[in-house]
Symmetry: C2
Subunit: 112 residues, 2 copies
Amino acid sequence: MNVTVDDELWSAVGDPTRRRMLDVLLADGGGTATTLSGQLPVTRQAVAKHLGVLQRVGLVHVTPSGRERRYEVDEAQLARAVAQLSAVGATWDARLQRIKRIAEAIQRGQEG
Amino acid sequence: MNVTVDDELWSAVGDPTRRRMLDVLLADGGGTATTLSGQLPVTRQAVAKHLGVLQRVGLVHVTPSGRERRYEVDEAQLARAVAQLSAVGATWDARLQRIKRIAEAIQRGQEG
DNA sequence: CATATGTGCAACCGATGGTTGCCCATTCGG
DNA sequence: CCGAATGGGCAACCATCGGTTGCACATATG
């Protein structure tokens, strides 16, 4: 019954800036720290740190080319992250449903 | 097409300890800072801070009774949080699907 | 009334997200 | 070929946050 989420993966997508970075990367099909920072309200260095985090958990992979380092989303890993999000959501949903059923049962008992 | 998630609500459920707290609260139907800290690997004070965060975003509400302060999950707000989680998941899913379709189209073009 | 128990508040610590500043590498133009 | 422009890495620094300890305060309870 434990939620048992991979906290690393979750906290990687837990940061708002990182979520937006993933968004931009998905929309543009990849990018560099510099191009990303141009589309986000943070500096290149901040973006670089986030890219490091995303890379460590495998959500992006990097391809050096000349003096650039192009980052792209690892689709399989992002799919895993999505699965975990919905797993937690499903767990809570189930508990809320159960509580609702119990509450209704109690009400029926009091009415009857 | 922006993800437009309520960052406050997301980051509230983004913390692993807070997720576990919500879990315990749902399982037990509520609790105090002291009872919660007994079921979690953190001190009462840490739990109290987290309860403050959860209360500020409306995920729990408190009922003072004597010297105790009993906290319970606000089911409607948790349902909202769940909805947001699945919304982000759905967005990413959709983008991954689109990328997949494009990739297949390119491959067909190269083959043909 | 005295003591045990539940909370709150404050100081402190380490990790993290963010910044600025500087230096190195590669590319590009005269 | 050499110098400027551009992309990137590294380090110092700051604020916030999750966590701790310590202490003071309020309320039950003997």
